[in-house]
Symmetry: C2
């Protein structure tokens, strides 16, 4: 069989290491020129395929591709774009296959989360129906760590390390000032549905009294009285209280705390995050001086403090995806399998997308302490290895050295306008 081209796209929120996976895919593909001719990347993810706007990665030098290892963001652009069901929008799938066929694309690598795995599965099925079977591989990526089957997701280890390090550092800051200044510090972290990132903040504390003193998870309904009681206890006992709160923290009725809502001077509802809502509860009920930080995108783009384990795994899933594809596997995703906690050992295995697509893995209850405000030893055993090791980018003039790709377009062969 003559070599075919591959299509690679990034999907959803990017991570500090999604480009590491891209590097793994492209470098591995380049080792098999007899099977994979060129890797085309979708500009702005899957949209690049639908609009026939693809980047020819073969125009990039080996050094440029290698430099993806330490460049955060999504090198080709990513997209929040979910293909609907085939019944709902058959035209989109047909378009995708039309593009793949026109560009001799035989491999589809889709680097994303739950939704994306569903897309890969559908494309795999549809391509067969269309008589143009494409080898379809999902590649895991999500800071939320909510993909099932795989032990963890590339992208999560680095955000976990960022949050654990930041919590430790800010905790020391607050502690040293608590006598005459801020007593309550709140760090808002990502995780709309699952509390994995918030849980990682718990790694900062090792001894009784260490920050963080309270973690608020989406999985545990928020109880205002119990929360305020605990804050007061911490300030009384330790002089300060550091809280890590997931953006998805919610009341028992399912309403997000973040929606509990601030309004502007005109009464319009404002999106201010959950941290100020908690801060105002503390102020009104306890009167303590507070501060809060909202890490937002800083946490998921922080390549400067990436976990070495995460970088290695992000590369490994990209590499394995290409290898599985070359073995003829399709509708599968490389997963990370944990072999032991201590020393931490892991390997890559292959899992069917049917087991993964559209499923969310929540933080298990046994990872959360009885009172709902902390993490257990089981959680520590799970989380600890994922933040191990530092993988620093090179610096130039005091800033991380990032690579700018040429991103040369693949010549269009169809050219008809397709509006997304």
């Amino acid at each position: 069989m003559p070599a075919m081209n591959a299509f690679y796209a990034q999907s959803g929120g990017v991570t500090a290491v999604i480009n590491v996976t891209a590097c793994g895919v492209i470098e591995t593909a380049r080792k098999h020129p007899g099977k994979i001719a060129n890797v085309y990347a979708g500009r702005n993810g899957i949209i690049g395929a639908l609009t026939e706007d693809m980047i020819d990665t073969s125009k990039e030098s080996a050094a440029t591709i290698a430099a993806l290892m330490h460049t955060p963001g999504g090198a080709f652009g990513s997209a929040r774009y979910k293909l609907r069901s085939i019944a709902e929008n058959r035209a989109e799938y047909e378009r995708l296959i039309e593009i793949f066929r026109a560009h001799n694309i035989g491999y589809f690598f889709y680097n994303g989360g739950n939704d994306s795995m569903d897309t890969v599965l559908k494309v795999s099925q549809f391509s067969k129906q269309m008589g143009y079977p494409v080898t379809c591989l999902g590649i895991p990526k999500t800071v939320d760590n909510d993909l099932p089957v795989t032990d963890n997701c590339p992208g999560f280890g680095s955000v976990a390390k960022y949050i654990a390090v930041s919590t430790q550092e800010a905790g020391l800051d607050v502690l040293s000032m608590a006598k005459t200044s801020t007593k309550v510090f709140i760090l808002e972290v990502m995780g709309r549905h699952a509390g994995w990132i918030a849980a990682a903040g718990g790694l900062a504390g090792k001894n009784l009294g260490d920050a963080p003193h309270i973690i608020l998870f989406p999985e545990i309904p928020f109880r205002k009285r119990a929360f305020l009681k605990r804050v007061r206890e911490c300030v009384t006992q330790y002089d300060f209280c550091v809280i890590v709160v997931s953006e998805g923290a919610r009341f028992a009725n399912g309403r997000f705390l973040a929606e509990a809502g601030t309004r502007d001077a005109f009464g319009h509802s404002q999106l201010g995050g959950v941290a100020p809502v908690l801060a105002n509860m503390v102020r009104e009920s306890l009167g303590y001086k507070f501060h809060f930080a909202i890490a937002d995108y800083l946490q998921r783009s922080a390549r400067h403090i990436a976990s070495d384990v995460d970088v290695k795994q992000a590369y490994a899933v990209g590499k394995a995806a290409v290898q599985y594809a070359l073995q003829g596997k399709t509708a599968v995703m490389p997963i990370i399998k944990r072999l032991s906690d201590k020393p931490y050992r892991w390997k890559i295995e292959c899992a069917a997308l049917e087991r993964i697509a559209n499923k969310e893995k929540m933080l298990p209850r046994r990872f959360i302490t009885q009172d709902g405000f902390g993490i257990t030893q089981a959680a520590r055993r799970y989380l600890q290895p994922l933040i191990m090791g530092e993988n620093y980018p090179p610096y130039i003039n005091g800033l991380p050295k990032i690579v700018a790709l040429k991103n040369k377009p693949v010549k269009q062969r169809i050219g008809s306008k397709f509006v997304i």
Copy 2:
């Protein structure tokens, strides 16, 4: 003259490198046992002197003191506590001299910002009046970089590096998602009066179109129309717009944007920072999807990404303070003098506190572009060297290794209660 003891205290908001200065003071003092017997540190800053609650640093091993080099926060506790004028509260100054005399303290090292330098000056004058002359040295420390005379302040270089790195990283993240997701990203940084930290965010951008696209300084009155116009231009031209805003950004009438105020559901005013206020302006007027981050304490405690230049200077001012004291200098502060920009060269000199106390150094107008939204080449020349070099802490189990001091108290000799 027999050796006397020294008193060292940290004052005001701590920085990523204030403990580096403490290390410089203690290690240098230890080299002169014939002149300085022990270094006592104030627990919670100057309050520790007033309440006779001092820590005997001679009980700490050399390795522990050395480990202060990579431990953020304030190792002995800091305080936001300003001694009033001698006329207003003579008793406090008398108490201080009483404690110094009782503990044979002949040297006073005070590590802080403008207010603290004023305190050092007053203590110096008062101790002479009391017939117990103490050698009084100020040591600069402030993330705000607003002390005059010195070219820059230890603590600033590291927060500048943190903000520049974070702006670059988040900028890449937003850019890669802008097609289908967030178009406007706002990073709120410290700097209530002076825009030095916000200016540092400007180092992230090198080429036209790079983040940040807009910087809002306290020094430039905020004009809503011009701001929104620029946001729209950036999104039109570059697909996204990254804004770095100083917490002290204000309207022409002097009112802080942060006070423009959000209210909760009951109409109570809420403290939510300036970022959400800007975000809501963007939402209401332009309708772009936005995100914002509030770095808060994360920025000033981020020892993990400290600037190497900053670490070296923080040590140098501590060391020099002790050396000047041993030369008999008093009511002075070591300053950093810049010898050249490129290559960056600097040295420590000695300046009279009278020139420094109670004065604030604002970002000069020539550092801000004509339109008020960016930094000039002159600003870059000034800022660039301060973020140079990485000075990583050691890690253990994926987290920075921090030192816990014994913090053994100095035996009280007066013991009377003093209520602050």
